[in-house]
């Protein structure tokens, strides 16, 4: 397998430098225009639908989606779209329905941790903020940026990681959420439009669907029909459920919640999600088909066989002309930075706004709070970079982060948002605390005692219970831990005497 190489012309370099310059320029411009913490952290709660569409789409889709989905398209075909992406569209649809209610019922909230902390107290606030912080560490994006920068600049991977993070960090720390959203707006156009144009060119260059079919037959050394089968010819309903369980994290994504509370109204955020769904779909269609076109190109002898996760870059590097390849690389950087910056901000907010402020300085001045959140953003970026160096290539890091969020935060948060009955501190503490600790312990056990299955692309552990052998997957953590967290919430509510005898109307007040 060959490592991809891309030759950039002067025009390509010019486009890439213009893109980086524009991002930093926006950060500097906003830096002078955002007085007060509310403007810095919640963009003045005035973000309307077009900006919301751009920031939601570009934030949730990063390099893990771009390279990861293309990788599945390269190896397995259209199943990447049907079985892996559709569960996320269902979650986005649910968010379009729930987000306006969340926004309008909590006009003063800034983060989802506010909801949990206000309902269940400081202990739950702490557990959920720690969960949100770990979810927001950008290990995958950092790795992707390191790879892209090392590819185009010829620098070591580690320097690529630091360079990419530094650019995203500069404009996020300078301008906060508004800079984040405005840069996302530019990045959204770059990443989606360039991929659309590139797909048209590359798909035609391989010879359309019939060319892809012939190429896949040669690549696969046989019948390529499994590439065009919606379930890849191997997925069962059980496997789809296991693989798609992490999509539940979209219902508790802290960057989504920050944007819900920053939206101008419930109507605007609903439009944001609804217009976003077809865009996410179009983006996925292009990536998956480009992964398949890359495999077909290898079969037809047009390109040498790349590593599967570099298939998209390999096919684009070969087919796109000068100028467009620069735009495409800028689009790849945009996909990465638009995700990294948003989660740097969420992580910084978790450290300072959600943990430091309520525990140590409840009456902190706005100016100081803004400054401290900027320090938090730098710490969040440093932790993300550090994790890359400590762990190297982490298989399944997204599955761990998503599982952590689902097990610890999802249920207590939605009970806090929509359940009108009694909600006690003990209930929140038990369910978030257990979800966080049990998930970490589960993953430590699976990754130290288990093994990585290349067949299923996940960590597994073989066990023997009363003479019956069986295998547990890392994805099963949700099936074990989430229901126990739910039960603990009810037990905590039942055991605690807090709020007993108070009428529903008074509680609602």
């Amino acid at each position: 397998m060959d490592v991809v190489s891309i030759n950039l012309s002067l025009l390509d370099w010019l486009i890439i430098f213009c893109y980086i310059g524009l991002m930093i320029g926006i950060g500097l411009y906003i830096f002078k225009k955002v007085p007060g913490f509310d403007n810095f952290f919640s963009a003045g709660r005035a973000v309307t639908a077009p900006l919301l569409v751009a920031t939601l789409v570009s934030t949730f889709y990063g390099l893990d989606t771009l390279f990861g989905t293309a990788e599945i398209g390269f190896m397995e075909g259209i199943v990447a779209l049907v079985a892996y992406s559709i569960p996320f569209y269902i979650m986005f649809g649910i968010m379009a329905f729930l987000a306006p209610k969340i926004r309008d019922r909590n006009p003063n909230a800034r983060t989802m941790i506010d909801i949990l902390g206000d309902t269940y107290g400081k202990g739950t606030r702490l557990f959920s903020a720690v969960t949100s912080f770990f979810y927001s560490t950008n290990t995958m994006e950092m790795m992707g940026m390191g790879f892209v920068f090392s590819l185009i600049l010829g620098i070591p991977f580690e320097w690529g990681v630091i360079l990419g993070a530094a650019i995203a960090l500069i404009y996020t720390a300078l301008g906060g959420l508004l800079a984040d959203i405005l840069t996302d707006f530019v990045q959204f156009f770059l990443m989606v439009i360039t991929l659309g144009i590139a797909t048209l060119i590359a798909w035609n260059s391989v010879g359309g669907a019939s060319g892809v079919w012939s190429g896949l037959a040669l690549f696969n050394r046989g019948d390529p029909s499994a590439y065009f089968h919606p379930l890849g010819g191997y997925l069962t309903l059980g496997l789809i459920i296991v693989y798609s369980i992490t999509s539940l994290a979209a219902l508790a994504d802290p960057a989504f919640f920050q944007r819900i509370f920053a939206s101008a109204s419930g109507k605007e955020i609903r439009k944001g999600f609804l217009i976003g769904i077809p865009l996410w779909l179009a983006y996925d269609i292009c990536i998956v088909l480009m992964g398949m076109a890359a495999a077909a190109s290898v079969g037809l002898g047009i390109i040498p066989e790349p590593h599967a996760d570099q298939s998209l870059l390999a096919v684009m590097g070969h087919f796109l002309p000068s100028g467009l390849i620069g735009l495409f690389i800028a689009g790849v950087m945009a996909a990465s930075m638009s995700t990294a910056d948003s989660y740097f901000l969420v992580g910084g907010g978790n450290l300072v706004y959600d943990i430091y402020r309520p525990v140590f300085r409840p009456k902190i001045e706005e100016k100081k709070l803004t400054r401290y959140v900027k320090y938090g953003i730098i710490i969040s970026a440093a932790v993300s970079i550090g994790l890359v160096f400590v762990f190297g290539r982490i298989m399944g890091v997204w599955v761990f982060q998503a599982t952590l969020l689902i097990n610890s935060v999802l249920f207590p948060m939605y009970m806090a948002l929509f359940y009108r009955g009694r909600k006690t501190k003990l209930a929140g503490l038990l369910s978030t605390g257990f979800g966080l600790i049990a998930t970490v312990v589960y993953y430590i056990l699976i990754s130290t005692l288990g093994y990585f299955s290349t067949e299923y692309g996940t960590y597994m552990l073989d066990l023997n219970l009363f003479g019956t052998p069986f295998t547990i997957w890392q994805e099963y953590a949700v099936f074990f831990i989430f229901p126990i967290g739910v039960i603990l919430w009810f037990i905590g509510n039942w055991v605690s005497k807090e709020g007993r005898g108070v009428s529903k109307e008074r509680r609602a007040k």
Binding site: P50, A54, V192, T199, L200, A209, F228, L279, A282, C286
Partner: protein, 44 residues
């Protein structure tokens, strides 16, 4: 095979056109805001 070609073209064209629609919505909104500001300035 034609169905896959249609899917590729629909995905790619949607990827080009849909962001332009979002840009149109944004420009419409900005224009409306500026017009509103102009009217207010005239009143004053």
């Amino acid at each position: 095979m034609i169905g896959w070609d249609i899917l590729a073209y629909v995905g790619a064209i949607a990827g080009i056109v849909a962001p332009l629609f979002v840009l149109y919505l944004y420009l419409k909104e900005v224009t409306k805001r500026f017009r509103g500001m102009g009217k207010e300035a005239k009143k004053e």
